[in-house]
C-alpha cells in the first residue's frame, strides 16, 4: 500500500518530503498564531508583574548602591558602591534583628508544627461535627495580620487588656505582655502561633486523608500500638508534606512585620526588632532608602541560601531513604 501511495505521489510530482514540509508549514503557522494569542493573553499579567514586582525590585537594587535619603534632598543621591551593604552587615542592630528573627521563627514554627499536626490528627478522626470544627479552626488564617495584631493588642493591653483581667481572676499577674522585654517576643509568638497553626493543620489534614489504608491494616494485623503506627507509618509518609509546609511558613515567618508593628513597633527597647522592622526603620524612620534597600537584599540572600540548603538536605535525605 505504501508503494502505491509513493508511486501516486511521484506521478503527481510531489515527494513525501515536500508533503511533510507543507504540513509542517501549516502547523508552524498555527503554532505561531497560537503563540501570538497566548502572548496577547499573557501580556497584561506580564505588564502587571513587571510594574509591581520586577521594576520595584530592580529599582530597589539600584537604590541599594546609592546614598538616597528621601527626607533630605540636599544630600547628593550619588553612587556609593557597596557602602550600604557594608554598613548593614557591620551594624549591631542588623545582627541583633537577624538573631531576633531566627529566635521568633524557632519559637513559632516549632509550636505551630506540633500543634498543627496534633490538631490535624484530631480533626481527621471520623467523629460528628469535625467538618465544622475544621472550618472554624481555619478562621484565624483568613484574618489580615493587622487585624490579628489589633485583636491581640486588646488582649495584651497593659491596663485594660482582657488577658490580664482573666489572669487576675485566678490570682495571676498582671503580666506586661508587650511592655516588658522578658515577655514581648513571647507575646508576638503567641499571636503568630494562633494565626498560623491552622496552616499546618490544614496541610497535614489534607495529607492524612490521602494516605493509603494498606500500611495501617498491615500494622494493625501485626499488633502495633497507636504510637508505633503514628511513628513508623504515618510520620514517614507525612514527612514530605510537613517539610514543604515548614518551608512555606519559614519564608513567611522570616518576613513577619504587621503583627509586630501593631503590637510593639519593635519595642520595648529592641526586644522585638526583627529584620523587617529594621528595614522599615532604615527606610521610613531614618529615610535612608539606600541602606533600607541594601538590608532588604541582604535578607533576601539569607533566606534564599537557607531555603536552598534545607531543600537540598531534604532531597538528599529522601534519595538516601529511597536507596
Amino acid at each position: 500500500m505504501a508503494d502505491i501511495a509513493h508511486q501516486e505521489r511521484r506521478a503527481a510530482g510531489s515527494s513525501p518530503v515536500r508533503s511533510v514540509k507543507a504540513g509542517n508549514g501549516r502547523s508552524t503557522h498555527i503554532a505561531s498564531r497560537n503563540r501570538s494569542i497566548a502572548l496577547i493573553f499573557l501580556l497584561p499579567a506580564v505588564v502587571i508583574l513587571f510594574a509591581t514586582t520586577i521594576y520595584p525590585m530592580l529599582y530597589a537594587l539600584w537604590l541599594s548602591f546609592r546614598n538616597y535619603d528621601l527626607s533630605k534632598p540636599f544630600i547628593p543621591r550619588i553612587f556609593v558602591g557597596v557602602t550600604n551593604y557594608a554598613e548593614v552587615l557591620s551594624s549591631w542592630p542588623f545582627l541583633h534583628a537577624l538573631v531576633t528573627t531566627f529566635k521568633l521563627m524557632a519559637m513559632t514554627l516549632s509550636v505551630q508544627l506540633v500543634l498543627g499536626v496534633g490538631i490535624a490528627l484530631l480533626v481527621t478522626q471520623k467523629l460528628p461535627g469535625m467538618a465544622v470544627v475544621r472550618t472554624l479552626l481555619l478562621i484565624p488564617m483568613m484574618i489580615s495580620p493587622v487585624i490579628v495584631g489589633l485583636v491581640w493588642l486588646f488582649l495584651y493591653f497593659p491596663e485594660l487588656g482582657y488577658l490580664n483581667y482573666f489572669l487576675s481572676v485566678v490570682g495571676i499577674g498582671p503580666i506586661g505582655w508587650i511592655t516588658t522585654t522578658d515577655w514581648a517576643l513571647t507575646a508576638i509568638a503567641i499571636a503568630d502561633i494562633w494565626q498560623w497553626t491552622p496552616f499546618f493543620m490544614m496541610g497535614t489534614a489534607a495529607a492524612l486523608q490521602s494516605l493509603s489504608p494498606e500500611p495501617y491494616e498491615a500494622a494493625k494485623i501485626d499488633g502495633n500500638s497507636r504510637w508505633d503506627v503514628f511513628r513508623y507509618v504515618t510520620l514517614p509518609q507525612l514527612k514530605p508534606v510537613i517539610v514543604s509546609l515548614l518551608f512555606l511558613r519559614a519564608i513567611d515567618a522570616f518576613k513577619i512585620y504587621d503583627i509586630i508593628f501593631v503590637l510593639t513597633k519593635g519595642g520595648p527597647a529592641d526586644a522585638t526588632e526583627v529584620l523587617s522592622l529594621y528595614i522599615y526603620r532604615q527606610s521610613f524612620t531614618f529615610w535612608r532608602m539606600g541602606v533600607g534597600a541594601a538590608a532588604s537584599f541582604v535578607s533576601l540572600i539569607i533566606i534564599t541560601v537557607l531555603i536552598t540548603y534545607f531543600f537540598r538536605s531534604m532531597q538528599r535525605s529522601q534519595a538516601a531513604l529511597a536507596r
Binding site: K72, A269, F284
Partner: protein, 470 residues
C-alpha cells in the same frame, strides 16, 4: 415693555455689582484645601468649626486627622511629591529643621509681618514663634504652645493626714516638688496599692508615685529625657564641631535619675507613650507627672478626665537639679503651608491659619472649657482664665526664660537612636547610662560626620526669627 427692559437691566447690574462685591469680600471663594493634621487638641478643637470658616471666606477645608506616630512619615512623603495633595501641614516644632532644610515649607515671614496687626503678632510669646523658625525664617505658625511642667494631685497634696505623714517621713513639707530629689521622695511616698488609703479614701486602683514616658515609640522617651537633661544642665550639641555631645556628666545624671523613678511608675513603663502616660493622670492613678502642657487642658475638663471629677490637679514649674535653675524646653505645635502648593492655595491656606490661630478663636476655646495649650499672652495672663485653668500661669511664667527644643535636620536620627538606647538602659539591657548615651551619640555622629564642620555648625545655630525683628 420699556419699564420691563429697564427693570431687567437694573437687576442685571445689581447682580453684577453684588457679584463683584462678593468676589472682593471672598477672594478665595471656591478654593478647596486639605490639611494633614494630628488627632489631638490643636486640631480636634478646630476641625468641627471649619464650616464657620467656609461661611466667612468661601474656602472649604478638609482635615485628615492621624495619630502622632507615623504622621511625620506621611508629611515627608507629601513633601517629596511634586504635586502635593495637602496644602496645609500640621507640624511639631522639632520637625521644622528637617522640613525647612528640605525646602518643604513655605516661608511665612513676609505674610506674618504684613498681617502683624491682624494676627496680633505682639501677643504671641516670642519663643513660640522662634520655635517655628529655621535659619531665621518662620516656617510654621503656632497653634498650640507648650512647656514641660509638673502636674500633681493637689487634692492629695493638700490633705492634712498626707501632709503630716510626709513630713514625719521626709522631714519637710509636702508640696509640689522644687527639686528632683523632692520629686523622687513624693513619688516614693504616694506609690500605693489598691485598697490602701490615699487622701482619706481607699484606693480603687493602684496609685503610682509618678508617670513618665519610657516608650521608644516615636522617641517618646527621648523627648522626655531632653527636659530632664536640660534641668541637669546638659545640651544637645558640641558648639565647635556640631556633633552630638550628650555624653557628659549632666546627661548621665539625667538618665540615671529617670531610671531611679522607675519603681514608682506603672509596671508597664516601657510601653508608656504620651497618651498612655497622661492617661494615668487623667484617671487619677498617678500622684504626679512631669509632662508637656499640651494635654493639660484635659485635666481640668470633667468630660475628658475622671480626675477633674474625683480629685483636683495642680500645676507647677519644673523642679531643679543641683545644677540650679535652668531654662526649660518649650515646644510648639503649628500649622504650615506646603511650599509646592499653587500660589492661590498658599494664600488661602494663610487665611485659614490666621483664622484657626486667631485670638478670637483661642479665647472662644478657653471660654468653652476646651482650650488648647495656649501661646497668646493676652489669654494666658487673663486673671479669670488663670483661675479656670491653673496651668496658664505656669505656662506663661516658664516661657519667659525657655529654650527651644531640638530643631536639627537629623532630629529623627537623634529621636530614634536615643529612644532605643535609653529604653534599653531603662530595661536593664545596657549596663550603664554612659554606655547607652555613647552608643546613641555615636550612631548619630556616624551620619553627621560626613558633612563639613561649617554645615554642621550652621544646623545647630538658633538664628533669631526675622519676624521678631524691628
Amino acid at each position: 415693555m420699556k419699564h420691563l427692559g429697564r427693570s431687567i437691566l437694573a437687576m442685571g447690574m445689581a447682580a453684577l455689582f453684588s457679584g463683584s462685591a462678593l468676589a472682593q469680600d471672598k477672594p478665595f471663594a471656591g478654593v478647596e484645601l486639605k490639611m494633614l493634621g494630628i488627632g489631638d487638641t490643636s486640631v480636634t478643637r478646630v476641625a468641627p468649626l471649619v464650616g464657620e470658616f467656609e461661611a466667612e471666606t468661601g474656602i472649604k477645608v478638609h482635615i485628615d486627622q492621624l495619630p502622632y506616630p507615623g504622621l511625620i512619615d506621611k508629611i515627608i512623603v507629601e513633601a517629596s511629591s511634586d504635586s502635593p495633595t495637602y496644602q496645609l501641614l500640621w507640624t511639631d516644632s522639632p520637625w521644622v529643621g528637617l522640613l525647612g532644610e528640605a525646602g518643604a515649607l513655605e516661608d511665612l515671614t513676609g505674610r506674618a509681618k504684613r498681617d502683624a496687626a491682624e494676627i496680633g503678632l505682639d501677643d504671641i510669646i516670642p519663643i513660640q514663634l522662634q520655635e517655628n523658625t529655621w535659619q531665621g525664617k518662620l516656617l510654621a505658625f503656632p497653634a498650640s504652645g507648650m512647656t514641660w511642667m509638673q502636674q500633681y494631685r493637689a487634692d492629695l497634696f493638700e490633705n492634712a493626714d498626707e501632709q503630716k505623714n510626709f513630713k514625719a517621713k521626709y522631714g519637710y513639707d509636702l508640696g509640689p516638688a522644687k527639686t528632683w530629689k523632692e520629686y523622687r521622695d513624693i513619688a516614693e511616698f504616694f506609690t500605693r496599692k489598691k485598697g490602701e488609703m490615699a487622701g482619706g479614701k481607699p484606693l480603687e486602683n493602684d496609685l503610682y508615685g509618678a508617670s513618665q514616658s519610657y516608650s521608644r515609640v516615636q522617641g517618646a522617651i527621648t523627648h522626655d529625657y531632653f527636659p530632664f537633661m536640660r534641668s541637669f544642665g546638659g545640651d544637645y550639641w558640641d558648639p565647635q564641631t556640631g556633633l552630638c555631645a550628650m555624653t557628659g556628666e549632666p546627661h548621665i545624671k539625667a538618665a540615671e535619675y529617670m531610671k531611679e523613678l522607675i519603681p514608682f511608675n506603672p509596671p508597664d513603663y516601657l510601653g508608656l507613650m504620651w497618651d498612655i502616660q497622661s492617661g494615668f493622670m487623667e484617671r487619677g492613678e498617678a500622684a504626679q507627672a512631669a509632662y508637656w502642657s499640651v494635654r493639660s487642658v484635659r485635666l481640668t475638663n470633667p468630660e475628658e478626665a475622671i480626675v477633674a471629677k474625683t480629685g483636683k490637679v495642680g500645676f507647677a514649674a519644673n523642679p531643679i537639679s543641683d545644677a540650679g535653675p535652668q531654662p526649660t524646653y518649650t515646644g510648639t505645635l503649628g500649622f504650615a503651608i506646603n511650599s509646592k502648593s499653587p500660589d492661590k492655595e498658599k494664600d488661602a491656606a494663610w487665611e485659614f491659619i490666621k483664622w484657626a490661630t486667631s485670638e478670637k478663636l483661642m479665647r472662644r476655646f478657653a471660654d468653652e472649657g476646651k482650650g488648647v495649650s495656649q501661646f497668646r499672652k493676652s489669654i494666658l495672663s487673663d486673671a479669670k482664665l488663670q483661675e479656670k485653668y491653673p496651668y496658664y500661669k505656669v505656662l506663661l511664667d516658664s516661657q519667659v526664660n525657655a529654650r527651644r527644643r531640638i530643631f536639627h535636620p537629623f532630629y529623627q536620627a537623634v529621636e530614634e537612636n536615643f529612644g532605643v538606647e535609653l529604653s534599653k538602659y531603662m530595661a536593664g539591657e545596657t549596663a550603664t547610662a554612659k554606655e547607652a548615651l555613647e552608643t546613641a551619640c555615636n550612631a548619630v555622629n556616624s551620619q553627621l560626620s560626613i558633612f563639613p564642620v561649617e554645615q554642621r555648625v550652621r544646623w545647630i545655630q538658633d538664628v533669631p526669627a526675622e519676624v521678631l525683628g524691628d
